[in-house]
């Protein structure tokens, strides 16, 4: 039996909801997109990606889905102060956060843990970029 990995739509919606719930984060970075930003996005903004999904299988068909998510924040300010503040607010909003999934019958959020940070740097296109990776775990019941 082939079981597809967790649909990114499920958890990406939950991440955007969590983002929007943080007034301090939204005050700095109002716009966040999954996978790619819209053309002409206003700085600073954030894009998050799915790096990979690694399932830990359990007898009987259940599994723990380990999703690695990368947040990339971009800013064109002259200083890195603003993007550094955005990163700090991202930590406050997402470290050990609980995500609410729309499909709660099949998946249960277990944890959200920060794995790594690539601090703000002056990247290509003359913008600041910071990359933060999280591991998000979900428990999937047997089908």
């Amino acid at each position: 039996m082939v079981i597809a990995a967790i649909d990114p739509i499920l958890w990406s919606e939950a991440i955007i909801t969590k983002w929007d719930a943080s007034a301090a984060l939204v005050a700095i970075v109002p716009d966040v997109w999954f996978d790619h930003a819209e053309q002409g996005a206003t700085f600073p903004y954030c894009v998050f990606h799915e790096i990979d999904v690694v399932p830990d299988h359990i007898f009987g068909g259940a599994s723990v889905e380990n999703v690695r998510v990368q947040f990339s924040i971009f800013d064109d300010d002259g200083s890195h102060a603003l993007i550094s503040s955005a990163v700090a607010q991202l930590y406050l909003a997402f470290d050990s956060a609980t995500l609410s999934l729309s499909d709660a019958t099949r998946y249960t959020h277990m944890e959200m843990q920060r794995l790594s940070e690539r601090p703000p740097r002056w990247a290509a296109e003359n913008v600041w970029q910071a990359d933060i990776d999280y591991r998000v775990r979900f428990f999937r019941t047997a089908s």
């Binding site: 830990d56 299988h57 359990i58 007898f59 009987g60 259940a62 723990v64 277990m110 843990q113 775990r137």
Partner: protein, 128 residues
Amino acid sequence: MAALTGDTGLVTWTGANYDTNVFDWTADIEQGEHDVTVFASTPPTWRTWTPGKIRTFTGTFQAYMDDTTIQTAPDAPETLETVTMRLKGAVTISGTGFVRRLGLKVNIDDKQTVTYEFRGSGTLSFNS
């Protein structure tokens, strides 16, 4: 005929023993033996053996801890229980036994796991 993989394995354990979210199991079945070596008139002598009459089995299984079902202490029911280890479908190994060791591992960076060790008592059946 094809080689089996572990993706359809399972452990079930009767009584109050914990068997939720199990992801691996082992069974160790030992056959007794007797050394019946007779020294040769000229060296060397190679040892010879005969199968004993006593068998025994032990086993382990590991599971991810459940957030609602609490783990049970070793041999919580204080009786012999039936443990069934499934290889695939109806292919199972089963017998009675008791849990003799419970190991808990909590790691901030990983899932929490529990390891049970059990000792069998009586016959171990191979079913297909």
